[in-house]
């Protein structure tokens, strides 16, 4: 622990502060008023909208669950038809997973993360606004499909062939594939922002060892989203290609395999469980010390647990596939890996108990929810070990035992902490805290209702009741247990209803007067704050600065710390180094903008129109979206518009940097990691299909196009990259026309490389509908085509900025990002060419 007796320090900025400083800061950070209010980008507003939307989806999916429980209350019930029931459970799972759990976690981080680090906002405020609006509009449209009998009914896991064009004609499955695919993209955008936010916008002095645990958990969360979500995006893309164009990835008769979907889906799906749980665990690790008034015991072990879980959870995907006939030894690897991932969870549980023992827990509502969470989650963890054991899972899999287990883990591990979070952090945004009296009722009803609903399901499952049945016969011994579960479900609903009453009576957000630090917590989000967050950005010397640095709140509010005003006249925050959090430069951030919101609407409309196969209007929506995105981007590369600024304490920081120092460069690197993960999934699909159906592969390369084609494509790709590299040198030498010329020539080179590869396979007579091999090859080509299109737009955008005089040797972040992605696209093209043209030639 860090000692609280710091050497007497000089404050970075003297008092009194100039009179005009605070009004200017306020003016700059005030949200827009009137109609433009919906364009607000301040993290507190977007965060609250976002949390509210996620909670709305929780309520909606909860109502679906109540209908299901009512249907199952008695055997042979006919309250709902099998068609509606199958839509209900599909939507319940999908909405809870994709529209509630993951977005809720991202939403909370928009609300809490910057303030915990005393940053003024997240590094890409417009991106969070875009992610929120795209998710909200898209999610609502998706949910409404159930009112028109258009909802998907293939289960939240959407296994083909049940979801193929043959067995699920109609638009339901397309709603799922396009809707969810697009919401995943919004989740990835959020994750990129979180990575950059955690690594680069911490308060000076908040080195890795002093970072709040929640920031660690969000860093791991974001890393997992970045690696896992591309798998489900690839999977949905493949299934949509099969549904729309009959490319046979999952059709056994043409060399496809339904198991490919299961692999890709669970490579995403299992980490997703921890993606929901880790942020919740991080929140618990923030609340426990505050409620016990003692620092967390075992900080480093908890960080170990978070990182360890993050990695190990990627080696668990097959434990959803124990009954699929995969080799016994392969199954057993996953049994062993499941054991390993138990250790980090155990570490966290004992760390919380140790903190209880070290301090003295105040039994307020957040504490009650945390204790309920511990009770429920320990049971879920133990039943998780049971189902990870291969032979036991052969009985338990796809029965109500799993329904029980997954709710103990997900509801227990995420919803209980979420309610604790609501009670704990509402004073941070609201004028009044929530009611302690009602809170006890909420917690009691939900806790009792939860256990009454889900504990009996363990037994129902072992007594042989499968999941996803809309009815069941009498006389199987399941009646009493099911009725109990239904009663419990209504108790949960009653608890949630009391919570809504509490919200209506006490929740008063969007006010300058906050209830504030009612728990005497130690972390920075409890600093006094205005629209601009903290008045000045403090130097952090411990993990609980408010406990260890006396008068910190007063001094921060007085403006004694760094950056007490808005010296450049724009929204700003300090970028600090990733490990030690030393100040590096001042980030100028964009404010509210209409194009951002319109682009989000455009994206949602684009995907909706595509779902119902209105291709031409969809194209218009797409073009509109891109135009709006360009409008929004145009003002975001301000260049060195201002001389270096003194933030106090004699530290002078530049307001603009480029290259590996810059936050946007890092964001691009993270986007490339996303693309690499996507490429990995495509390669996995190719080799998996080869393993299953070697008979459709062109063994020895006989049926492949002659080698001249790939050689030509390689040459064009390399030349295109060289043109960009040359442009970069010319830019440094401040020669504008060579830059423009090589930018302009790099685009056709890239397009030509793509064209050569497409033509090569087409002229050889290969058609994507022929076999799984052909489909895999054309998927590579289509993917590369998509990247080429994106990069071409980026190239033209960069060119336009050059023509407008917005690009030069110093103001070159736009160019650098374009170049980085350009090189990645070339690399991806080369990798795909190597696999498609070399691998079959190696076979005999």
């Amino acid at each position: 622990m860090t000692a609280s007796t710091e050497p007497k320090m000089e404050y970075p900025n003297p008092l009194p502060r100039p009179e005009e400083e605070l009004p200017l800061l306020e003016k700059i950070w005030n949200p827009p008023s009137g109609w433009s209010f919906i364009t607000v980008v301040n993290n507190e507003y977007v965060g609250l909208f976002y949390v509210g939307a996620a909670f709305l989806f929780f309520l909606l999916a909860g109502v679906l669950a109540l209908i299901m429980r009512t249907q199952l209350a008695v055997p042979e019930n006919d309250l709902v038809s099998q068609g509606l029931y199958n839509q209900l459970f599909t939507m319940h799972g999908t909405v809870m997973m994709f529209l509630f759990a993951v977005p809720a976690m991202e939403a909370l981080s928009v609300l809490l993360l910057p303030n915990m680090q005393a940053a003024r906002d997240l590094p890409f405020p417009r991106l969070s606004a875009y992610a929120f609006w795209a998710y909200f509009v898209g999610g609502l449209i998706f949910f409404c499909s159930i009112f028109f009998d258009l909802a998907p009914s293939g289960g939240w896991f959407m296994y083909p062939p049940l979801t193929s064009h043959e067995y699920s004609p109609g638009h339901g499955a397309d709603f799922w594939l396009l809707g969810i695919g697009f919401i995943e993209i919004s989740a990835i955008a959020g994750a990129i922002e979180i990575v950059i936010g955690v690594l680069l916008t911490r308060a000076p002095g908040m080195s890795l060892d002093k970072m709040p645990i929640y920031c660690w958990s969000m860093l791991v969360f974001a890393g997992m989203v970045i690696l896992a979500f591309p798998a489900v995006i690839v999977a949905t893309a493949l299934l949509e290609l099969e549904r729309s164009f009959h490319w046979p990835f999952f059709i056994a008769a043409k060399g496809g395999d339904p198991l490919l979907w299961q692999h890709l889906f669970w490579i995403f799906g299992h980490p997703d469980v921890y993606i929901m749980f880790l942020p919740a665990a991080g929140l618990v690790s923030m609340m426990v010390p505050a409620m016990a008034q003692k620092p967390l015991v075992g900080y480093r072990l908890i960080v170990l647990a978070l990182i360890g879980t993050g990695f190990l959870s990627f080696a668990l995907w097959v434990h959803h596939m124990y009954a699929t006939g995969i080799p016994q030894l392969s199954l057993s690897f996953f049994n062993a890996a499941s054991m390993a991932v138990t250790v980090p969870s155990a570490i966290q549980i004992f760390a919380w108990i140790a903190t209880f023992a070290a301090g003295r827990l105040q039994f307020k509502t957040p504490t009650l929810f945390i204790l309920a969470f511990l009770f429920v989650f320990v049971i879920g963890g133990l039943s998780g070990v049971m189902v990870a054991v291969v032979p036991f899972d052969w009985q338990a899999h796809d029965t109500y035992f799993i329904v029980a287990h997954l709710h103990y883990v997900v509801f227990g591990g995420m919803v209980f902490p979420l309610f604790a979070t609501f009670y704990y952090w509402i004073p941070y945004v609201s004028e009044k805290p929530l009611s302690e009296r009602l809170g006890r009722w909420v917690c009691g009803l939900i806790f009792i209702g939860f256990n009454l609903t889900f504990f009996p399901m363990h037994i129902t499952g072992l007594l042989g009741m499968p999941r996803r049945v809309y009815t069941y016969p009498a006389g199987m011994g399941w009646e009493g247990l099911n009725l109990t579960s239904t009663v419990g479900a209504y108790l949960i609903a009653a608890g949630v209803l009391v919570f809504l009453v509490d919200l209506a009576r006490n929740f008063r957000p969007f006010t300058p007067k906050k209830a504030g630090n009612v728990w005497n917590a130690g972390t920075l989000e409890w600093l006094p704050a205005g629209e601009y967050a903290a008045r000045s950005i403090p130097i952090v010397t411990s993990r609980e600065p408010l406990w260890d640095q006396p008068n910190l709140a007063r001094d921060v509010e007085a403006g004694r710390y760094y950056l007490p005003g808005a010296p450049t006249g724009r929204r700003e925050t300090i970028i600090t180094s990733p490990i030690d959090a030393r100040p590096l430069y001042i980030l100028q951030m964009p404010g509210a903008s209409w194009p951002t919101v319109l682009a989000a609407f455009g994206t949602a409309v684009f995907f909706l129109l595509l779902t119902v196969k209105l291709v031409v209007p969809a194209l218009f929506a797409g073009v509109f979206t891109i135009a709006m995105a360009i409008c929004w981007m145009w003002s975001t590369d301000p260049g060195p518009s201002h001389p270096p600024i003194d933030i106090g304490g004699g530290i002078k920081l530049p307001v603009y940097v480029t290259g590996p120092m810059s936050h946007s460069w890092w964001a691009m690197v993270v986007l490339i990691v996303v693309s690499l993960s996507q490429l990995g999934c495509l390669l996995f699909a190719y080799f998996f299909l080869w393993t299953v159906s070697p008979e459709v592969w062109p063994v020895g390369g006989a049926a492949l196009p002659v080698a001249d084609y790939p050689f030509a494509a390689v040459l064009l790709l390399v030349l295109s990259s060289c043109a960009m590299a040359y442009a970069s040198r010319a830019l440094r030498a401040a020669r504008s026309w060579p830059v423009r010329f090589s930018l302009l020539s790099a685009i056709p080179l890239l397009v030509a490389a793509f064209g050569v590869e497409l033509y090569a396979h087409w002229q050889s007579g290969l058609r994507p509908t022929d076999s799984s091999y052909a489909a895999a090859v054309y998927t590579f080509i289509a993917t590369q085509g998509f990247f080429v299109a994106v990069v071409a737009v980026m190239g033209l955008y960069t060119l336009a900025r050059s023509l407008c005089g917005l690009l030069n040797g110093r103001r070159r972040a736009t160019f650098d990002n374009t170049m980085l992605f350009w090189h990645y696209t070339v690399f991806q093209g080369l990798a795909m060419l190597a696999v498609v043209h070399v691998f079959p030639r190696l076979l005999e």
Binding site: P161, L301, A323, I347, L382, V389, T399, L463, R468
Partner: protein
Amino acid sequence: MLNLADAVQSALNPQSPVSQEIATLGWVMIAGAALIFLAVLALTLYALFARDEARAVLGGRELILYGGVVFPVVSLSALLVYALLTADRIVTRDEPAAVRIEVIGEQFWWRVNYLDAAGYTDAVTANEIHLPAGQAVDMDVTSEDVIHSFWVPSLAGKVDMFPGRSNRLRLKTDRLGVWRGQCAEYCGAQHAKMAFHVVVETPEEFAAWLAAQRRPAAEPLDPFSQRGKTLFLSKECGKKKCCADCHSIRGTPAKEEEGPDLTHVGSRRWIVAGTFPNNVGTLAGWIASARHLKPGAGMPSFDRYGGEDLRALAAYMESLK
């Protein structure tokens, strides 16, 4: 005679060495989980409510290291070995199978083919599988359309059925009786009503049953059943497809194999994939209103037939022992 009401479908009622093995594993884990849960609960209560000097003992890194690292590593190592040994005993097949049966999942019923030594179909039935007690039986399971899962909890764990793949499940039990099984992988509209029964009988009874299943259908003796047969073969049913356009009854012109084989449907204990007990009333009701009783299934409702016709058809079905 076997008691139909006892067709159990429960992992907690193991009736074979394999399901017994899994049940034991399950009980060991349940007991262990209960103990660990109580211990964590006790520790939490102690950390919260014991005297301050006493509970402070738990307030350090030692608790995390012993409780969160050492204990899980030791106990999970033991569990891993136990689980692997159990899995090994279950999947190791040390004797050749006496009987091979191919089970094909269809939306929403089970096609059952008994195979001879060369792997050719020997006898065809549906939704009811007979096994000889005490003999090893290999079930080769696959699917005709979407993914299903073959599961008889009292006899073994489940195995998924994929189009284009075949998975093998070994069944062996000494216990005579009827066990219920059900599709365990969501397979569409009527996943809930896709059950079947496994009848374990003595090897002699089994041999007799199989011999009977191989025979073509007997000619109906009474005129009423004969009327049913005529109706069955008729093309005038008011639907696009009539009975004989989907079902086969060996020994008659009905040879289509889209729906379940009905050659010996009268010998089965249940109809509609384990949904209704087999009698004249349920048969007639099913023929008249299949679309209502099991919407989404392939069978149409033959609502043009009057009561007499339905009873005749049902009587014919009933006669196909």
